[in-house]
């Protein structure tokens, strides 16, 4: 066990020693700053007020309570993940195995009597560590920056629209419960984003270049999101990954039963397991030649 911990520590050292790992953190801070700065413009404030007027007119009088840290942090997290989150997860997790093969270090490693499954497990744990770290980092920095930008935590309001059914899920929370819900949402996001990491990691274990693994993952998620928005596919909504990935946002709703979120989490966890199973099988059976 001690040796396994040392080996895992080495994988994390490798991960942390590469500049690429920090791109995700730097990029997300930039995206959060951009979003929060734009959110302070009168135009953006009016647009948010209009949403309140339309979907929860009873709360409009208290709009300034919601136009603060918690609500804006949640919006910043959503914006950052839509823009960059998946990209950086695919980039790092798609790189983690394929890059070692491309650089030739994998052959050096496999000249030692270490089992391939152990090596696979170490790499997957490093990918999982990165996924959790990136999501928690984005969650924390969004909250801190939003609180600093908007002068306090305030209350939490969540307006989630389910396209194409145009069903709007609206929920509001007082500060303490809002903070708890925010943390719960970030934990859930970290769990569901593992499906992105697992897919990128699976491609990374196949015989392909790191860039191909990243692009393949992103292409699948992009295609999935685009197809889900096509009205023709609305009846198949629950077959789409992006529907289930949004369960962390649906989880804020008081109108939906918890089983809805749990079903999506279960679906994503099962899918991640399939990706991991395929990656473990392929990695343990593939040839490594110069």
């Amino acid at each position: 066990m001690k040796l396994f911990c040392l080996q895992l520590g080495n994988e994390l050292i490798k991960l942390c020693a590469r500049k690429r790992t920090y791109l995700g953190f730097a990029g997300s801070i930039a995206a959060e700053l951009l979003f929060l700065s734009l959110g302070r413009l009168p135009l953006a404030r009016r647009a948010l007020e209009k949403s309140f007027q339309r979907f929860m007119p009873e709360e409009l009088a208290r709009f300034s309570d919601y136009y603060q840290g918690l609500t804006m942090a949640l919006l910043a997290v959503t914006f950052t993940f839509l823009l960059l989150g998946g990209l950086y997860l695919a980039l790092v997790c798609g790189d983690i195995m394929a890059k070692e093969v491309e650089d030739g270090t994998m052959r050096m490693i496999l000249a030692r009597p270490i089992s391939r499954l152990r090596l696979w497990l170490l790499k997957w744990l490093a990918s999982s560590f990165y996924t959790f770290t990136l999501v928690f980092f984005i969650g924390l920095t969004s909250l801190l920056l939003a609180t600093a930008f908007y002068g306090g935590l305030g209350k939490l309001a969540v307006i989630y629209g389910q396209h194409p059914r145009n069903l709007m899920l609206v929920s509001t929370y007082e500060t303490a419960e809002g903070l708890f819900q925010y943390v719960r949402g970030i934990v859930l996001l970290a769990v569901v984003m593992h499906v992105v990491s697992a897919m990128a990691f699976m491609f990374s274990c196949l015989n392909m270049k790191p860039a191909t693994a990243t692009i393949s993952t992103l292409a699948i998620f992009f295609l999935d999101a685009v197809l889900k928005m096509v009205p023709f596919f609305s009846v198949f909504e629950k077959w789409f990954l992006s529907y289930h990935l949004a369960c962390w946002l649906r989880g804020f709703s008081r109108m939906l039963p918890p089983i809805d979120t749990l079903t999506s989490v279960f679906y994503l966890v099962c899918l991640s397991m399939v990706f991991l199973g395929v990656s473990a099988y392929r990695f343990s059976r593939r040839d490594f030649k110069p």
Binding site: K2, L3, L6, Q7, N10, I13, K14, A17, R18, D103, G104, T105, R107, M108, I109, L110, A111, R112, P113, I114, S115, R285, D287, F288, K289, P290
Partner: protein, 254 residues
Amino acid sequence: MSFTFPTRCGNLCAQMISLENVDKKFGGRWAVQALDLEVPKGCIFGLLGHNGAGKSTVIGMVLGQVFPSGGTVLVNGHNVFKNRRHALARVGAIFETPAFYSYLSGWTNLRMFCQLTAEHDSKRMEEVVRFVNLQDCIRDRVGTYSHGMRQRLALAQALLPDPELLILDEPMEGLDPEGVIEMRHLILKLNREWGMTILLSSHLLNEVEQLCSDIAVLKQGRLLFAGSWRPSDTKQSLESFYLEKVRATPEAKE
């Protein structure tokens, strides 16, 4: 320069490497076909052949990196694919282009390779680093190393597990003349003084001629010759011997 190896407790098997009727097919092409090869303990064994002859595939199979389509690969009496831990416990390998984590120091690289199989022993690592004469730059990033320094670092990581078998895949490729001479002396020293079996794959016939006591010649994945090599016995140079063997065998059809 002092360098100590712990007492050996090797397997009683007389062959260090034994390939029995080994085949390997990549897609529709045979990389190795019905190969029977034995590398005796204690020798320097040269693996010769043109590009694509199957040398790297053979080395890949000996290290368990390439799965054979058929046959058995034994290292020190252990099946590499069934008992990898024991088969490769005392094996070190260097490849043509030694690959390391260029963003980490030489020392961190060595420690990581060491910890793939056991907790690292700083004293032993220092001994090995001194042996390959990298003590002055071992704390520098590998990205700043020259090819020769990387090759010496590769030798250091190969020596860490106190190997009985050292596999060298084109170790002199890209080295300057001084580096080639240094590497040649190191190989002889490791074989004669430390008793290591060395499997050397190389294109440089004069190097193989100077170093190896046994050779195998491969062509298109088939073995043309395997056995002891003494120029005095054959009364010809390795170059003419090699060309004679290779030209005498017709090209196989795909």
